[in-house]
């Protein structure tokens, strides 16, 4: 059969993270065909398990038809921002083991069937073509993509919300910065007056202010990024501890840092020049007057 698409069934290690109804450590093997299993770090820690332990797993909440497995390792579940509040008590087992466990004993065919499988495409762009192909070969099978459009993606909505907050923050802090710079300039009114009195031109004083503005804005931006990095570490450590996850909640990427500098430095310089210009427009005597 022609297979235009490579189907990556995660056949060896179970693809799903089966939410198993019950499990129980067992002292001795209950059967000779004990198979290997991987356990999430969270499950390992919460149940005080260790690699090499034998445990019984059952798909039935009552523990019926339990099977024994040997823990051969633990793994850190892939962090999922949509589920970070959930405790990741998970195992990974071989696909056939999972199918056997979930099979209905009253239905001889149930071991031969699954209700859903995940397929990873080498080329996600060809997802529509793949859907048409599968649907054409197995009518009645529903095939849908896990990738949704931006409008339906909650993280895109969240990102837009963050952008709105950032814009409001930048506007407010710009106004605040300008007010601070005006106050700072006013404090240096007499200094500007003395410089003008001894013969420094407006342009010369403004150049001096510009140089100071660039230095202050650059140092300020660097300090802001350093503060953000410290805050990033603090936030991530706290929330990773709080929700027992490896999810990275805050990341100050080089791109974000560059954007911050690109915004902060010109704004700082403009604010200092505007504030100083309001000062330098005055006559020398007005600057020196108490």
């Amino acid at each position: 059969m022609r297979r235009p698409f490579a189907l990556l069934l995660t056949a060896f290690i179970a693809l799903g993270t089966a939410a198993l109804a019950s499990f129980q450590p067992t002292a001795e093997p209950t059967s000779s065909d004990v198979t290997d299993i991987l356990v999430s770090r969270q499950l390992l820690e919460s149940q005080d398990l260790a690699v090499g332990d034998l445990i019984d797993l059952a798909a039935d909440p009552t523990g019926a038809r339990a099977r024994a497995f040997r823990i051969v390792g633990s793994y850190e579940p892939l962090p999922d921002p949509a589920r970070f509040t959930q405790q990741r008590l998970e195992v990974r087992l071989h696909l056939q083991d999972m199918v056997d466990m979930l099979a209905d004993p009253a239905d001889p065919q149930s071991g031969e069937s699954v209700s859903a499988i995940n397929v990873a495409l080498h080329d996600p762009e060809r997802e529509r073509e793949f859907r048409r192909s599968v649907f054409g070969q197995v009518p009645g099978l529903s095939v849908w993509s896990t990738q949704r459009g931006d409008s339906a993606n909650p993280f895109v909505v969240l990102e837009q919300f963050h952008l709105a907050i950032a814009i409001v923050t930048i506007l407010a802090s710009t106004a605040f910065l300008l007010a601070l710079m005006v106050m700072r300039s006013e404090e240096r009114r007499e200094t500007a007056g003395i410089l003008r009195l001894i013969g420094l031109g407006k342009r010369r004083v403004l150049t001096q202010v510009l140089i100071e503005g660039v230095i202050i804005a650059t140092v300020g931006a660097a300090f802001g990024i350093a503060l953000a990095l410290v805050a990033q570490s603090g936030f991530n450590q706290f929330f990773q501890w709080r929700y027992d996850t490896a999810l990275v909640f805050v990341r100050v990427s080089p791109k974000v840092a560059a954007q911050c500098v690109a915004l902060a430095v010109p704004l700082g310089v403009i604010a200092s020049v505007v504030a100083s210009w309001t000062l330098l427009r005055r006559e020398v005597l007005a600057l020196l007057r108490r």
Partner: protein, 228 residues
């Protein structure tokens, strides 16, 4: 080079006020020769300081002409007037107007650097000036670490740093005690003796008596003139 450092003709200054314009200076005409020491006296509010500010081009006249070294500077753009202040005119004020964040040395060196003097020239001239005003030992002190008399001496050193043709002093002893004021007056005498034209505005008869020429002002006009 002109026979006068400064020459005014019909100089008038009117300030717009909420209650109506106030004329601080009316039709003032006089000149200062390169070697003159002129004292301007008169009661408070008679226009002495206004005249000094116009002479120093830190303010502009409402009407009249002001020639500096034969050149009309009343209509010059701000940058050119700044350049004249930097290189041709020195100021000494009652309140000293030293930059508080700079040392005495740096205050004296600053205008030289702005005028384009080299580092070696600045170093030599600053040392010479601080020695001239008797403050070599206080060169590294900031204004806040100096007495009033010392600050005024630094201000005088700064004022003559670029070898100006005219030194303008507005109540230079106004904030000093009699003894310190006397020292400053003696220093101004030395500056004059070294070839600088000086115009000093003062209430102090002792200072005025040192000038070779005295102008008395009232209500914005020169009402009397006397020469020693």
């Amino acid at each position: 080079m002109s026979a006068t450092v400064i020459e005014t003709t019909g100089l008038t200054k009117t300030f717009p006020m909420p209650a109506g314009p106030v004329t601080a200076l009316r039709d003032v005409s006089f000149s200062v020769a390169p070697d003159e020491y002129v004292a301007v006296t008169g009661p408070s509010g008679c226009g002495k300081s206004t005249l000094l500010h116009l002479l120093g081009s830190v303010d502009t006249a409402t009407s009249g002409t002001l020639l500096f070294d034969g050149r009309d500077i009343s209509a010059l753009p701000d940058a050119e007037r700044s350049r004249i202040r930097l290189t041709q005119i020195g100021f000494v004020f009652q309140r000293f107007y030293l930059l508080p964040m700079l040392t005495a040395w740096e205050n004296v060196e600053l205008p030289q650097g702005e005028a384009g003097a080299s580092k070696a020239e600045r170093r030599a001239r600053t040392a010479e000036l601080l020695d001239y005003v008797g403050l070599s030992q206080r060169a590294r002190h900031r204004p806040s670490q100096l007495s009033g008399g010392e600050m005024q001496r630094v201000a005088i050193a700064r004022a003559i740093a670029n070898r100006p043709r005219l030194l303008l002093a507005d109540e230079p002893t106004g904030e000093l005690d009699r003894s310190t004021g006397e020292q400053i007056a003696e220093l101004l005498d030395r500056v004059h003796a070294d070839g600088n034209a000086i115009v000093v505005v003062t209430h102090d008869p002792a200072i005025a008596a040192r000038a070779k020429r005295r102008l008395e002002m009232r209500d914005g006009e020169i009402v009397a003139e006397a020469s020693a």
